[in-house]
C-alpha cells in the first residue's frame, strides 16, 4: 500500500508524468471552482441577509476574506515547496513555487484593494494604518521581493535555490512582523470565523464565506497547475518528451 503511494509521488515528481496527470486534473478542478464560485456568490449576494450595522457593504468580505486567507496560504505553501526543493532537490517543487508567487501577490493585492474599498464607508478613509492591512502590505512586499529576485538571476537553478532561501527566511519573519505590527497599532475587527467553539458570524453568512474560500482555493490549484505546465514546457523544451509532445 505505502509502496504504491510512494511510487505515485515519485512518478508525480517527474516532469513528464506531472504534465500528464495535471492535464487530466485541470478540467475537474476548473469545474469545481466554477460550481463553488456560482453557489458562493449566489448565497453571498442574494440569500445572506444584510448586516445590522454595516448594511450591504459588508458583502465584500466574501471576496476580501478568502483572498486574504489565500495570500497567507500560498506563502506558506511556497515555503513548504521551497523546503522540499532545497532538501530533496525536486525540480517540480521549484516550478510550483515559482508559478505560485504571482498568484500569491495578486491575491494579496486583491485583499488590499477590497479592504480599502470596504474601509472607505466603514472607517471613512481609503487607507488606514491598521495592523492587518499593514502586514498584508508587507506580505505583498515579500512576494514582490521574491519575484524580483528570481527574475534578476538568469541561471534557473541558482534562481530557484536563492528564491527558496529567501522564502524560508521570509516565513520565519512573517510571524515576527505580524505580531510586531499588531502590537504597533490595531483598528481591525477581531477574528470572527476562527473561533471554532462559537463563531460570531451567522451561519447564513458563514456558509457562503466558506464556499467562496473553497472556490478561491480550487481556482488557485487550477491556475497554478496551468502555469506550472507552461513553465515546465519552457524549461524542458530540449528534452525528449516535450519534443515528442510537440510532434517534432
Amino acid at each position: 500500500m505505502w509502496n504504491m503511494i510512494w511510487l505515485f509521488f515519485h512518478k508525480l515528481a517527474s516532469p513528464k508524468h506531472f504534465y500528464r496527470i495535471s492535464g487530466l486534473l485541470i478540467p475537474w478542478l476548473a469545474a469545481i471552482t466554477a460550481i463553488l464560485l456560482v453557489l458562493g456568490l449566489y448565497l453571498g449576494l442574494f440569500v445572506a441577509p444584510p448586516d445590522y450595522q454595516q448594511g450591504e457593504s459588508y458583502r465584500i468580505i466574501f471576496v476580501h476574506v478568502p483572498s486574504a486567507w489565500m495570500s497567507m496560504f500560498i506563502y506558506t505553501f511556497m515555503a513548504v515547496l521551497s523546503a522540499i526543493y532545497l532538501i530533496w532537490n525536486i525540480k517540480l517543487a521549484d516550478v510550483m513555487a515559482r508559478s505560485s508567487a504571482v498568484l500569491g501577490a495578486s491575491f494579496t493585492l486583491l485583499a488590499l484593494a477590497t479592504g480599502s474599498l470596504w474601509g472607505k464607508p466603514m472607517w471613512g478613509a481609503w487607507w488606514v494604518w491598521d495592523a492587518r492591512l499593514t502586514s498584508e502590505l508587507i506580505l505583498l512586499f515579500l512576494y514582490m521581493g521574491y519575484i524580483a529576485l528570481v527574475m534578476a538571476i538568469e541561471d534557473v537553478r541558482t534562481a530557484a535555490r536563492a528564491g527558496a532561501v529567501l522564502i524560508l527566511v521570509g516565513v520565519v519573519n512573517i510571524p515576527i512582523i505580524h505580531y510586531s505590527v499588531e502590537w504597533w497599532n490595531t483598528l481591525h475587527q477581531g477574528p470572527t470565523v476562527t473561533k471554532l467553539d462559537k463563531p460570531s458570524i451567522h451561519l447564513s453568512m458563514l456558509v457562503p464565506l466558506l464556499l467562496m474560500a473553497g472556490a478561491f482555493q480550487f481556482y488557485y490549484f487550477t491556475v497554478v497547475l496551468m502555469r506550472a505546465r507552461a513553465e515546465l514546457l519552457d524549461r524542458e523544451r530540449r528534452s525528449e518528451w516535450v519534443r515528442e509532445l510537440m510532434g517534432r
Binding site: I138, F141, G145, A152, V165, L166, G170, S180
Partner: protein, 225 residues
C-alpha cells in the same frame, strides 16, 4: 583555543585592517546618515515640538538606510577578488566566518553611527531620556540589521545590479526592529519604562545571531555556485 575561533579572530582583524586602509570610505555612511537627518527639518518644518515627535523615526530610518547601503560592500570586494570562494572552501564553518565579517562590518559602520546619534538627536531636539533610549536601541538594533541584511547581500552579491534589489528584499524584514526601537524611544521621551521593547529587541538579536549566519552561508554557497 579551537581553530574555528582562531579563524574568526583572524578574519575580524583582516577586515578591520582592510577598512582602516580605506579610511576615506568609512566616513561615507556617516555623512549619509547625517545628511538624511538634516533633510527632515528642511523638508518638513524646523519647529522643535514637531521635530521631537519625529526624531526617533527619522534617526532610525536614516540609520537603517545608511547601514543597508554600506552593507552592500560587505561581501563585494571579496567576491570580486575570489577571497570569498576561498572562505567557502576553507575547513572552517562558513557561518562562523560570516559572523566574523558581520562583526567587523558592524564595528566600522554601526559603532560610529552609535557615536553620532546623540548629536543628531540634539539636532532634532530630542530630550535626554530619549537620547539614552536611542543609544540603547541602536546598540541592540544595528547588529541585528547587519545580520538580517547579510542574508540579502549574500543572495544578491553575484548580480551586477543588486543594489536596489537588496533594499527590496531586506527592508520588509527590518520592520519589526524599526517598530520596537522607535517605540522605545518615544516611550522613553514620555518618561515611561522601556524594558519590554528592549527585551523584545534582545530576543530578536539572539534569534538573528543563531539563525542568520546559517542562512547567509547557504545564500553565499548558492551565489558562488
Amino acid at each position: 583555543m579551537s581553530s574555528g575561533w582562531q579563524a574568526f579572530i583572524a578574519l575580524v582583524k583582516r577586515d578591520l585592517l582592510l577598512a582602516f586602509r580605506h579610511r576615506g570610505e568609512l566616513l561615507n555612511p556617516l555623512l549619509f546618515f547625517m545628511m538624511v537627518v538634516t533633510l527632515f527639518p528642511l523638508g518638513v518644518s524646523p519647529e522643535s515640538s514637531l521635530l521631537r515627535t519625529m526624531a526617533p523615526g527619522v534617526i532610525w530610518i536614516a540609520a537603517l538606510l545608511a547601514g543597508l547601503f554600506s552593507l552592500e560592500s560587505i561581501f563585494r570586494s571579496d567576491f570580486d577578488d575570489g577571497a570569498l570562494e576561498q572562505m567557502v572552501l576553507s575547513p572552517h564553518p562558513l557561518s562562523l566566518l560570516v559572523l566574523a565579517k558581520v562583526l567587523a562590518h558592524w564595528l566600522v559602520t554601526g559603532l560610529p553611527m552609535l557615536l553620532m546619534a546623540p548629536l543628531l538627536g540634539m539636532f532634532l531636539s530630542l530630550p535626554a531620556p530619549g537620547l539614552v533610549a536611542m543609544e540603547l536601541t541602536l546598540l541592540i538594533g544595528t547588529p541585528l540589521l547587519s545580520l538580517v541584511g547579510s542574508i540579502g547581500v549574500a543572495l544578491t552579491v553575484g548580480l551586477r545590479r543588486g543594489g536596489v534589489l537588496l533594499t527590496l528584499l531586506v527592508l520588509p524584514l527590518y520592520i519589526p526592529v524599526l517598530i520596537f526601537s522607535t517605540n522605545a524611544v518615544s516611550v522613553a521621551v514620555a518618561g515611561l519604562p522601556i524594558d519590554g521593547q528592549v527585551y523584545f529587541l534582545l530576543a530578536l538579536l539572539a534569534l538573528a545571531i543563531t539563525l542568520a549566519p546559517f542562512a547567509t552561508a547557504a545564500a553565499l554557497r548558492i551565489s558562488l555556485s
